[in-house]
């Protein structure tokens, strides 16, 4: 294949991937950080900074799993070993098609998910190029199932966490003292999960591949350290002559910032693949001049995607959070922590399993989970209907756009 054409395609796909990453970062930053801004735990400036950093580290450290699913597990590249150009065209069409669809949908204010769009795009390309049998339907089924299961799973975690907070803190005789006792546990657990996901097989890119037991031990140590640091910090809090429940929320502020950062991290881990997954496939073909699936997702690409996310957060996070923050003042730090903890844990788990899930939908599931535990004063369940219809629309729409672009590329260049 013509090297110049190939380079051109790579440059275009990198640009589109970066553009998608910027979009994703800008749109989703409010999901994790708006609660912290609304509760005044962080200024918008700080929230943007924290979200950017967490997004980029999540993308680099854990982003490769989902990227692998998108680039080689849905449509087996081996089928294209004698015609790598078609594969490259297809992947290019998938990013262009889904980016186009997301932009159109956003224009019409439909709550579409980039995850669903990219999967729709890749599957659409597979259908038109190698046909029904060329797609690994089992993987597709797992992915689609994960879209249903992840919000429910997250919702159950959030429900449980908030119920624990309710029982042990909000219902107690001395809520402030109870916060001092229970709070450090939550800090420890967040740090434990976070570090386990990073250390266990996450540091491959840094050539630090630790066996499970070792990783578990180190993570436990970090969790315990977090427990004691949290205990120390919460002891410093001086009681005031205010309503104790407002004070509990105040004490939960740092906890919420921690869980929001956790959520931004897992967002980077999962959503970076929506932008760079197909590019990773194109990159691999360019590197080897043939369709090769064993190549790992290059860290440069993950960094590029992560930088795109962070750039989007930086450029538009300010505006998005201003508008969202005003509307969600009803979600106080204890509620925010429960929802964010559930979201982040679920998304991170899915990321490690290579499941591209919609972080926004998982967040919605978690907030409803807190609502079912009687934690939120009013939730519009209408939103669920809108999400499901946008969901059902995204797969075929993004698929059709991809197919159209793929056919045009084929017509023009071959």
């Amino acid at each position: 294949m013509d090297i110049n054409l190939f380079t051109l395609i790579l440059v275009i796909s990198l640009l589109v991937a970066f553009y998608s990453a910027v979009n994703i970062g800008a749109n989703d930053v409010a999901n994790s950080m708006a609660t912290s801004v609304a509760s005044k735990a962080l200024t918008i400036k700080k929230a943007v900074l924290v979200a950017g950093i967490c997004d980029i580290t999540g993308a680099i450290l854990v982003g490769s799993h989902v990227a692998n699913t998108i680039r080689k597990d849905l449509v087996d590249p081996i089928q294209f070993s004698d015609r790598p150009t078609l594969f490259v065209f297809g992947m290019l069409a998938a990013i262009l098609g889904s980016a186009l669809w997301v932009n159109i949908a956003t224009y019409f204010k439909l709550p579409v998910s980039t995850t669903h769009s990219i999967i729709g795009g890749v599957v659409g390309f597979g259908l038109v190029s190698v046909g029904f049998a060329g797609i690994k339907w089992k993987v597709v089924l797992y992915v689609v199932l994960s879209w249903v299961i992840s919000p429910v799973f997250g919702g159950i975690i959030a429900f449980t966490i908030f119920s624990i907070i309710k029982k042990s803190i909000l219902s107690s005789e001395d809520p402030i003292d109870q916060t001092r006792k229970i709070g450090p546990f939550f800090i420890g657990i967040v740090l434990f999960i976070l570090s386990l996901s990073v250390i266990f097989k996450g540091l491959k890119n840094l050539h630090l591949d630790l066996p499970f037991l070792e990783a578990l031990f180190i993570s436990l140590a970090i969790g315990v350290a977090g427990y004691f640091i949290g205990k120390f910090l919460l002891q410093l809090y001086k009681e005031r002559k205010e309503d104790p429940y407002y004070q509990v929320e105040k004490m939960a502020n740092p906890l919420q910032v921690l869980s929001a950062s956790f959520q931004a991290f897992s967002h980077g881990a999962n959503d970076v693949a929506n932008a760079i997954g197909p590019v990773a496939a194109i990159w691999a073909v360019l590197q080897t001049q043939k369709v090769e699936i064993a190549v790992a997702v290059p860290i440069e690409l993950l960094a590029l995607g992560g930088a795109g996310l962070a750039f989007g957060v930086y450029m538009w996070g300010h505006r998005v959070m201003e508008t969202v923050g005003e509307r969600i003042t009803s979600i106080t730090p204890t509620r925010g922590f429960s929802a964010e903890f559930g979201t982040a844990t679920t998304v991170l788990l899915c990321s490690r399993l290579g499941m591209p899930v919609s972080t926004t939908h998982v967040a919605v599931g978690n907030i409803i989970g807190v609502g079912l535990a009687r934690g939120i004063s009013a939730i519009n369940l209408d939103v669920i209907k809108k999400i499901i219809s946008a969901w059902l629309l995204s797969l075929p729409a993004a698929g059709l756009f991809t197919v159209a672009i793929y056919l045009i590329l084929k017509l023009v260049f071959l």
Partner: protein, 224 residues
Amino acid sequence: MSIISKLFGKSPFEPLYQHMLKVKECVDLVRPLMNAFIKGENKEVKEVANKIFKAEHDADVVKKDIRNNLPKSILLPVARGDLLSFLKEQDNIADSAEDLAVLLTMRKTRVPDEIKDELSTFVDRVLETYEVAMTVSSEIKILAETSFAGVEAHKVMDLIEELKLKEWEADKAQMEAVKKMFSIEKKLDPVSVMMWMHIFGELGTLANHAENAGDRMRMMLHGS
């Protein structure tokens, strides 16, 4: 705009609290109204009544606003039906105050000296009942904060028990006042007797609604 922010509906608890304040405005005028009535100052009765009508209307506006913002698709920490019937009972308190004001302005009923003491005590008991109901209602924001459980919920439950006692006392005071009125029935013309029955009845109804509001609050705490 993010789907997350659309997920959050308007909280009904702050407006419920505002509604309580409007109802309180109404009921706080019952004492001046009755004082003017007992003294036979009809002009003042009319003035106070007009203030009650205004406050009652304000409460109605808040009530409608709450109802309009509570479609069936909204998920609340309490059962929607319980919340709405609590709102209704709380609003009925203001309605009773309004009806009483209407009664007193409709006809110039003279208050015989013999029943002044009993009437005054009855008004006291009714307003005491309402005070407890208002304390219960004013806890609504804290209850939402603690998600309707624990120490706060117990505190409110105790208040609701107290409310029942107060209402019972108001009932007793009502009986005393009625008895006293009939003991001087020879001195009263039949239309006045009818008016007195209505006035006593309306005061009693106010206390009943206060008690009912407490009961609905209890359902909110237990239910869902």
